[in-house]
Amino acid sequence: MASETVPTTGRRRSVEGKPTFAVAFTALFLFVLYVPIVVVVLFSFNSKKSLSVFGGFSTRWYQDFFNDEGLLSSLRASLFISTVTMLCSIVLGTMLALALERVTSRPARITGTVALIPLVTPEIVTGVAALLFFTGLGMKLSLTTVIIAEITFSISYVAVIVRGRLSSMSDEVEEAARDLGCTPFQALRLVVLPTILPALIAAGLLIFALVFDDFILAFFTTGIDPQPLSVRIYSEIRMTISPAINAVGTCMLLVSVLLISLSLVVPRLLGRKDSSLDLISGG
């Protein structure tokens, strides 16, 4: 580990003292991060079909995008997959997190831990397994199969984020609810869940974004219903790409900015100190 950090030594000195160099490095880092984003946005307004030569300003690719039923249906499909996956994995993942935090019997604990394995399994393994499972069962590959695979992949992410929040919540909060007249289920519904709501929002946003952008699982499990956007983009990149893709990318970027802003603002609206972003970065 130490040897890997050696190249940064020159930087480190100034970080501990005056952070000029570190700030410059971070600025450069963010700049490099944004270079392709700028290219995508810029070329989405290119009047030429070229992806390397900028001809002039035009919105033709946006028109293409909004008139391209294929792309639009892929976009709708991806939104649908992400939304359903988000909702289902939040429900199942939260159940898992609660159970992991609370069950005491050994078999239950083992079961709960096993359910976290997808977290340390590369997507391609999950994808291959899902594909073989679905084709083996004779299930038609469709948005449903993509959603099932994505949920399987997402449950453990939600569980880990939510569990992090749960473990920082005193047991006494729940006992207080019971004390004040709640049944175990009411305590869960009226107190525990509202308390961990920021973590649920954070997990939801993260899952939405991960699933929306996920390619590998979708690639293995998608059927013929409109394909998820990532799969369509992949096949376009592999074959002949249309600059309309840049328009798609720009729109996705806008949505992403919106989501992130929401994650910053929503917890504040709910009067919470811990923003969802902290939880994302903490998870």
């Binding site: 950090t5 003292g17 239950a108």
Partner: protein
């Protein structure tokens, strides 16, 4: 009775103090996710393992069996080469992400001030836009006649550099795709770190550098280990980066598996490859867990 024993008892009491009526709710809650994972994950992984002992039938469809042929085929040096290449790529990706990501996390966490959240948001936004499109944008930028090479030529710095279709490009793609998962856990652990530690360290060690290695790095080891896991695992199974940015000799395990399922039409061989990948990860996880346990013990 010694105080330690009492503490242990208090802990024990905490651990087991739930009443049976309450435990039932938790078991009820555990059932749906557990059942889901059993049906859609455990059993499907079981199919992969079983199919890895099968072969391709006469109609080109996979058939179960009990043969080790696929594993024998994998002993071919060609496959070993791919496994080693994948491991090297994944390790390089992780190391580079750590070296580049740490200073960024450090700067934002300790010098971000009131812009901390905004900076993190700024950092995360690109990762929520399509990875594939960003990759494609890079490949146009770094093309032989792309913008960057044009700049290099115009400024006379170089007659052109071949960036794409090299092992370096594949690793860069992987780093670009997952470095945020290195930055965020490190950032979180730096945030949680008591900055008084650094102040204390400055009194103890004469140079800031020594302070950094003696105080900051150990205090954020958990974050770094988290980041390592989040970067290494996807990198090892990736096939997109090699597909879009790689050259003729940058095939990774992911590409091989993908090919067996979608081109080579040899699902049993693909399953065997998947099983071997899982085993490799199992070994990695054993070492990883040992490392994290050591960190926890030190705490």
């Amino acid at each position: 009775m010694s105080l330690q024993v009492e503490d242990a008892l208090v802990d024990l009491a905490k651990e087991k103090r739930r009443s049976p009526t309450r435990t039932r709710l938790w078991n009820v809650l555990l059932a749906p996710p557990a059942l889901w994972m059993l049906v859609f994950f455990i059993s499907s992984v079981t199919i992969v393992v079983l199919l890895s002992f099968g072969h391709v039938g006469d109609t080109g469809k996979p058939v179960f069996g009990f043969s080790l042929d696929n594993y024998k085929a994998l002993s071919d040096p060609v496959y070993l080469k791919v496994f080693i290449r994948s491991a090297v790529f994944a390790i390089a990706t992780t190391a580079i992400s750590l070296v580049l990501g740490y200073p960024v996390a450090y700067t934002i966490a300790l010098h971000g001030g009131k812009y901390k959240n905004a900076l993190i948001a700024f950092l995360v936004i690109p990762f929520f836009a399509s990875y594939l499109i960003r990759m494609y944008a890079w490949s146009t930028l770094l093309a032989d006649e792309g913008l960057i090479n044009q700049l290099l030529r115009d400024t006379g710095l170089s007659s052109g550099i071949r960036f794409l279709n090299t092992p370096g490009a594949v690793i860069a793609g992987l780093v670009y795709g997952s470095i945020v998962f290195m930055v965020l856990p490190i950032y979180a652990s730096l945030e949680r770190m008591d900055t008084a530690l650094i102040e204390a360290g400055k009194d103890l060690y004469h140079s800031p550098l020594q302070t950094f290695f003696a105080v900051t790095v150990p205090a954020t080891r958990a974050g770094m280990l988290g980041g390592v896991l989040l970067v290494f695992l996807p990198a090892l199974g990736d096939f997109v980066s090699a597909q879009l940015l790689g050259g003729p000799s940058t095939y990774m395990i992911g590409n091989l598996i993908q090919q067996q399922f979608f081109e080579g039409q040899n699902q049993p061989l693909g399953s065997a490859l998947t099983v071997v990948l899982m085993l490799a990860l199992l070994i990695f996880m054993v070492f990883y867990l040992r490392a994290t346990q050591r960190v926890n013990r030190e705490k």
